[in-house]
């Protein structure tokens, strides 16, 4: 894996936007073409050397020893380590910790260090708001990053930034963290990547040609799914605008603890399963309801959790496969789907 952004691909190609148009037309006339049909609209010769990467997400580790979530994260690591072929690297989708304490973040790093391949990681809100990311940064590095791998440009952003609700109200760090721990907390308001990261992103991609394969990785989805639970990123429209020049952008995210797919314009979005607990689907219509997983059975302790692996082809098509710990996938999802 290279941490150096490759600026050599500066040739300009016009943006066709076929995928976005196809999606809009399909939705406008109420036709469900299915994920595979829709994404097939924009393949091309992009010179990607085929490879796979895996995603592990939302471990939510607690401080007490021998917690079941420790085991579940370790199981996810073992699952990825047993994949054939091995993924080139693993992306972790945020929320290593539940309460943002250093011991939880350290425990997570120790478990994740068992991975046989490199790890790239972005933060979740549970990692962040006790010390505003100090411990996380000390352990995991920058939360905003990009790198090129086998012809694909990978971007990681911190999408869980909120307005300052704690200074004026005189909250302690623990109180701030407590507010942020609740999915349905009414205080913090919507999350986003905020201005600095938008500037960083614009600068990061300004010299990339439109046919550059782009993968953007965040904790929260880059579309308005269910803002009440922060199943959204408030400045996702700005992110999508910055990335609109590219023919094909893949967004992978954590936070929602479920299987999920969506597509807006040139950006497809794929959610990651958690390793801790599944979340119910919120009360909104889905554009691709067939990507929902089965209802989790609470009597099966690890039902509805797992990992995912993505195989990228030479034409920058992705085969997304969820690997649940239990039998969580509907027949539609069992063989994976193409993005």
């Amino acid at each position: 894996m290279s941490d150096i952004v490759d600026h050599s691909r500066r040739q300009f190609l016009s943006f066709a936007g076929k995928a976005g148009l196809t999606t809009l037309v399909a939705q406008a006339v109420g036709i469900n073409l299915g994920v595979v049909d829709i994404v097939r609209a924009q393949t091309g010769k992009r010179g990607v050397e085929p490879f796979r990467f895996a995603i592990i997400s939302d471990a939510h580790l607690y401080s007490m020893p021998d917690h079941k979530f420790d085991t579940q994260l370790a199981d996810a690591v073992a699952q990825v380590n047993a994949m054939t072929p091995l993924p080139d690297f693993v992306l972790f989708g945020g929320d290593v910790a539940q309460n943002g304490t250093e011991d939880q973040l350290v425990k997570g790093k120790k478990i994740l260090s068992e991975l046989k391949m490199p790890l790239k990681i972005i933060p979740g809100e549970h990692d962040w708001y006790l010390d505003m990311g100090d411990a996380w940064r000390g352990l995991y590095g920058d939360e905003t990053w990009s790198f090129n791998h086998k012809g694909v440009h990978f971007i990681g952003l911190n999408s869980i930034l909120v307005r300052d609700f704690w200074t004026e109200t005189g909250m302690t760090p623990l109180e701030r963290m407590t507010v942020m721990e609740m999915l349905e907390s009414p205080i913090p308001g919507p999350w986003g990547v905020h201005e600095k990261q938008l500037e960083w992103l614009a600068n990061d991609v300004k010299d990339l040609a439109p046919d550059t394969p782009i993968v953007v990785f965040t904790h929260s989805p880059l579309w308005d799914y269910y803002p009440r639970w922060n199943f959204q990123t408030s400045d996702a429209p700005e992110i999508r605008e910055i990335l609109s020049k590219f023919e094909n952008v893949m967004s992978y995210h954590g936070h929602v603890h479920q299987t999920l797919f969506n597509r807006i314009g040139n950006m497809s979005s794929v959610a990651a399963l958690s390793t801790s607990w599944p979340w119910p689907y919120p009360p909104v219509e889905l554009a691709f309801p067939e990507t929902r997983m089965n209802r989790a059975d609470p009597s099966i302790a690890t039902d509805g959790m797992g990992t995912q692996v993505i195989d990228l082809s030479g034409s920058f098509e992705a085969l997304v496969q969820y690997n649940p710990f239990e039998d969580s996938l509907t027949p539609f999802m069992r063989d994976g789907f193409k993005v």
Binding site: Q98, L174, E184, P186, D297
Partner: protein, 170 residues
């Protein structure tokens, strides 16, 4: 016919007319005064608020691993109180919602079950049912996830967030 008898008949007729009018329009008197209704609503909201706190981990003996009901059931989603009583595989029989609450406390949360007739259990039930008000009551097994209620962005109801779990709380 005596005057006395006429008086009685007149009273009966007037009463019957009044009764018919009352039945056709509204109650003869409100069953409760506005003040009484306000008191009753306040008592319900107090119970719902207690349920909200418990749902988010305010009572330490409900968990030994830090998990609260709210971890898996934000806004009580997928708790499906309106589908109980129903058959639950972990029991092999039909159980009420209160027993399902205790199952979650004892299993995923590894905590101590609540008194099914206690105020705390009533509060848990009050919170879950309050957030499902308006949903159709459909007892029976939900083979698919039922749709949770829509909670507009904001509080859902007036309550200060308490956080989730007890792991790092003082």
């Amino acid at each position: 016919m005596t005057n006395q008898k006429l008086k009685i008949e007149r009273v009966l007729v007037v009463s019957a007319v009044a009764a018919v009018l009352a039945a056709g329009s509204s109650w003869a008197r409100a069953p409760f005064t506005d003040e009484e209704l306000a008191e009753q609503k306040a008592a319900l909201v107090e119970s719902v608020a207690l349920g909200y706190d418990l749902w988010h981990g305010s009572r330490a003996d409900m968990t030994t691993n830090g998990l609260a009901c709210g971890n898996c059931h934000p806004d009580t989603a997928a708790a499906n109180p309106q589908t109980f009583p129903k058959y639950m595989t972990m029991y092999g029989k039909v159980i009420p919602f209160r027993e399902m609450v205790n199952w979650c406390i004892e299993n995923p949360q590894v905590g101590t079950r609540l008194d099914v007739n206690g105020d705390d259990m009533t509060a848990m039930e009050a919170y879950a049912f309050y957030l499902h008000r308006g949903k159709e009551i459909t007892p029976g097994l939900a083979s698919e996830q039922t749709t949770p209620i829509v909670v507009e962005y904001g509080t859902g109801f007036a309550r200060t967030p308490t956080g989730i779990g007890v792991d790092t709380k003082p």
